[in-house]
């Protein structure tokens, strides 16, 4: 994803004027979608951090850290949405997306 491109929140159904339904079935106020999204990303990232800490497999450790770093950048992007994001140094490009897609292939069966 190139810098400046908006991240779309997936699986949001049409709701009423004030609430929207997330893909896990939870209804949230519309203004709550963005923090809910990067909160969820942080939750996933925290979990990956624990997984990285407990695994003894160096390859898995390395892959998890890379994914974590990507998620941190995405989270920062979402957290600062609508604000001047010039402070952000990292960005997620097509290269990172391609790497993630090819990951099962890299890891093998």
């Amino acid at each position: 994803m190139s810098k400046g491109q908006k991240i779309k929140v997936v699986s949001i159904e049409r709701g009423n004027k004030e609430f929207t339904k997330l893909f896990d079935g939870k209804w949230v106020p519309k203004y709550h979608v963005r923090p809910e999204t990067y909160g969820t990303i942080d939750e996933l990232n925290s979990f990956l951090g624990m997984a990285r800490a407990v695994t003894k497999d160096k390859t898995v450790k390395r892959i998890l850290l890379i994914i974590q770093n990507h998620l941190f950048v995405i989270g920062s992007d979402l957290a600062l949405s609508g604000k001047d994001r010039s402070a952000l140094k990292g960005e997620i490009t097509q290269k990172e997306v391609d790497w993630l897609v090819r990951l099962p292939e890299i890891l093998g069966p």
């Binding site: 942080d42 939750e43 951090g49 800490a53 941190f72 402070a87 140094k89």
Partner: protein, 702 residues
């Protein structure tokens, strides 16, 4: 958990026909409160208690009870739970004491109990508690006899870590004629804890207000998460708040927050109303039975100038405004007064108005005023008025308050012969004085106006609480590389080991530069003569380098020294952003102005991480020194937007990277509006899990 509070059948274990047996009190309570489910009794000896059989063989108990209530010696309980498990019982209330609260042996019995309960999937209350009460179905389980005439069913529910406190709150409920719905005495809470009960009560349609008495918090982040997801008011009386000795602060900023400071900040962040006394708890319960206070504008109506003055002071203390009452209403009041010697204003002094019915007319006229959000009504009666009139009068106040959807906090004070008659005249809550009533009304205002956008995901980290043992400070190379990766704006820097590379680095960065010693062993660089600022040229750098090298070679003889050459940032406002790992609430973020502000004046804002945009802005506005950030005495305003971004990013690092035990940016320089912030220095303390993380493999240095 519905089966725990609404079982179809209950077995009381530990019953005998002896007069001194406590188990029989539980049976008596169930009868007194007309529990409609089946009641079975179990004891060591077969027998009868009134018209019920006491079984001594568990196989003989007919049916299959949903809930077991156990009051037998601690050592017998693991086996009883095993029997319950085999009979298919999945819920238990264990009231007996003698477990971990009593002795080491008791602690072992407790562990055995947990193992057996888990084997069968049994969930239980206690041990070491007085049980639970549900007035909705008459399931009253305390082993002390309860007086049915002294209790009233209502919509307040209480969870208490102490049976004694629960009992006292029940007495206060009786004195205040307040109704409750469910009471839970949690005891040692080794299985079900406050969050399990809170989750249930939040969903319970019969509960509208929840009270908690806690001496310890099982999982602070889970508690916050639950509180943030409900509109029901939660009032917490938290005891045992003196600072713990287990946490040894190592960084400046971590020492700035005591355990109680963090607890205060976390509860406020979650919208939980904290009280400090039992009477405070009761006053809050009463206020939350009234319609919500939707704004800050209060009208005070009373019969005494003195009470009006006290009320005006209390209104100011708790952040209420006393707006002008319209001329139309004041004219209406004038038409009801006798002598006309009292000046009409807000507080409205009705000392000159006689006739109880006029009060209701005036109250309604005031409540109709659009600018008024609620009323403090102070009634001082004499005994010449009939009780029936009083009853009618209170009912009229209650009806009118509900009709206009605005709270009327009504204070009545009379002599002891009438006091409880007043209290029991209706189910409308009455207060004694303005101060305590307005303190609680302020909580209602806070609750009603809590901005929805502040609701922010707090992730439970219970399973990853790191130990402070084995933590270690990261070296400057790691710290700066991490800061750079996380997107924190750094003053340009190079790590060097000798004078030659130092001079090259300074030329690349451009003078003026700063020279610093770069080792994790020097915590306070300035005090240790490890910082030289404003170095203007190579000649000055050469002198400074030699001096510093000589100084530290004598301190760390035999060690390889590293130095940092950093771009000199123009003089600007210094900020400290730090963190602390709290055993109850996990990572918290601290923010304050540098210099004496944070460290001497302890002017810091604390939040549980992560923080939303609104919460970060609240942190900035909260500190007393925030005026300096907004421009003060001709100084230009600082880049608050940039600071906001740093606070949010910082708080997310604490969540996303579990190896970060403590983190500090000190100082962070905030430049003028639109010019951003610059991180000058900082520290990271990793916990044990970080020891097997190789940053180089992950690309931190790429």
């Amino acid at each position: 958990m519905h089966h725990l509070f609404y079982p179809q059948s209950v077995v009381i274990i530990g019953v005998s026909a002896e007069q001194t047996n406590l188990g029989r009190n539980i049976v008596e309570n169930l009868d007194r409160f007309s529990f409609q489910g089946e009641i079975y009794l179990f004891g060591l000896k077969e027998g009868r208690l009134n018209d019920r059989a006491i079984y001594s063989n568990v196989e003989e108990i007919p049916g299959s009870p949903e809930l077991a209530v156990i009051l037998t010696p601690a050592r017998s309980i693991p086996e009883i739970i095993d029997v319950c498990g085999r009979r298919g019982i999945r819920w238990a209330v264990i009231e007996s004491g003698g477990f971990s609260e009593y002795s080491k042996d008791g602690g072992q019995i407790e562990q055995q109990l947990v193992r057996i309960a888990r084997k069968y999937g049994i969930r239980f209350v206690g041990p070491n508690c007085i049980g639970i009460m549900n007035l909705d179905n008459g399931m009253v389980l305390p082993f002390a006899l309860m007086d049915h005439a002294m209790t009233r069913k209502g919509s307040i529910s209480l969870v208490s870590q102490s049976g004694g406190i629960a009992a006292s709150v029940m007495k206060l409920f009786s004195c205040e004629n307040l109704g409750f719905n469910k009471f839970i005495s949690m005891g040692n809470k080794i299985d079900l804890n406050e969050n399990d009960y809170l989750d249930y009560l939040i969903k319970d349609p019969k509960t509208s207000v929840i009270g908690l008495y806690l001496e310890s918090i099982s999982d602070g982040r889970a508690l916050m998460h639950l509180a943030m997801g409900t509109d029901k008011p939660i009032i917490l009386l938290k005891a045992n708040t003196s600072p713990g000795s287990h946490q040894i602060a190592r960084f400046h900023t971590s020492a700035l927050a005591g355990d109680n400071d963090i607890c205060v900040a976390a509860l406020a962040q979650a919208g939980i109303h904290r009280v400090h006394t039992l009477t405070g708890l009761i006053e809050h319960f009463k206020v939350f039975l009234l319609p919500p206070m939707n704004g800050p504008n209060l009208a005070v109506i009373g019969r005494s100038g003195g009470h009006g003055v006290l009320a005006a002071d209390a209104a100011a203390t708790y952040g209420f405004a006393l707006p002008q009452i319209s001329k139309k209403v004041l004219d209406f009041v004038q038409s009801r007064i006798r002598s006309g010697v009292i000046h009409m204003t807000n507080p409205l002094d009705l000392g000159d108005v006689f006739g109880i019915s006029y009060y209701i007319d005036i109250l309604e006229a005031v409540l109709k005023e659009k600018q008024i959000n609620g009323v403090l009504l102070m009634q001082n009666y004499t005994r010449i008025i009939e009780m029936e009139d009083i009853r009618k009068h209170i009912r009229a106040i209650q009806e009118i308050s509900q009709r206009y959807g605005k709270p009327v906090a009504t204070c009545f004070l009379t002599d002891r012969s009438e006091f409880f008659e007043f209290k029991t005249a209706t189910d409308f809550p009455l207060f004694i004085e303005a101060g305590s009533a307005l303190e609680a009304l302020a909580a209602s205002y806070q609750h009603a106006t809590r901005r929805r956008k502040d609701v922010f995901p707090i992730i439970s980290l219970k399973r990853r609480i790191p130990s402070s043992e084995g933590t270690f400070l990261a070296g400057p190379e790691e710290v700066f590389a991490r800061f750079k990766f996380w997107g924190l704006p750094m003053a340009d820097f190079r790590l060097v080991q000798d004078l030659e590379t130092a001079l090259l680095a300074a030329n690349e960065i451009g003078y003026p530069v700063v020279l610093k010693i770069a080792t994790a062993k020097v915590l306070h660089k300035t005090e240790m003569k490890g910082v030289k600022i404003d170095i203007q040229d190579g000649h000055a750098l050469k002198a400074a380098f030699k001096e510093m090298e000589e100084h530290f070679l004598s301190t760390f003889s035999g060690e390889e020294l590293k130095f940092l050459i950093q771009k000199m940032v123009p003089n600007s406002l210094e900020i400290i952003v730090g963190s602390k790992y709290d055993p109850e609430f996990g990572p918290v973020i601290l923010f304050g102005l540098g210099g004496i502000f944070a460290e001497v004046l302890r002017d810091v804002a604390i939040r549980v991480a992560p923080v939303s945009e609104d919460q970060a802005m609240e942190m900035i506005n909260q500190i007393r020194g925030s005026a300096l950030l907004k421009g003060f005495r001709g100084k230009p305003p600082a880049d608050v937007e940039a600071l906001l971004r740093i606070l949010m990013t910082f708080s997310r690092i604490l969540i996303d990277y579990p190896e970060v035990y403590e983190l500090e940016i000190n100082p962070l320089l905030v430049l003028g509006k639109g010019q951003g912030c610059v991180v000058v220095d900082g520290r990271i303390r990793f916990n044990q899990v970080a020891s097997n993380i190789d940053g180089k493999e992950g690309g931190f240095y790429s």
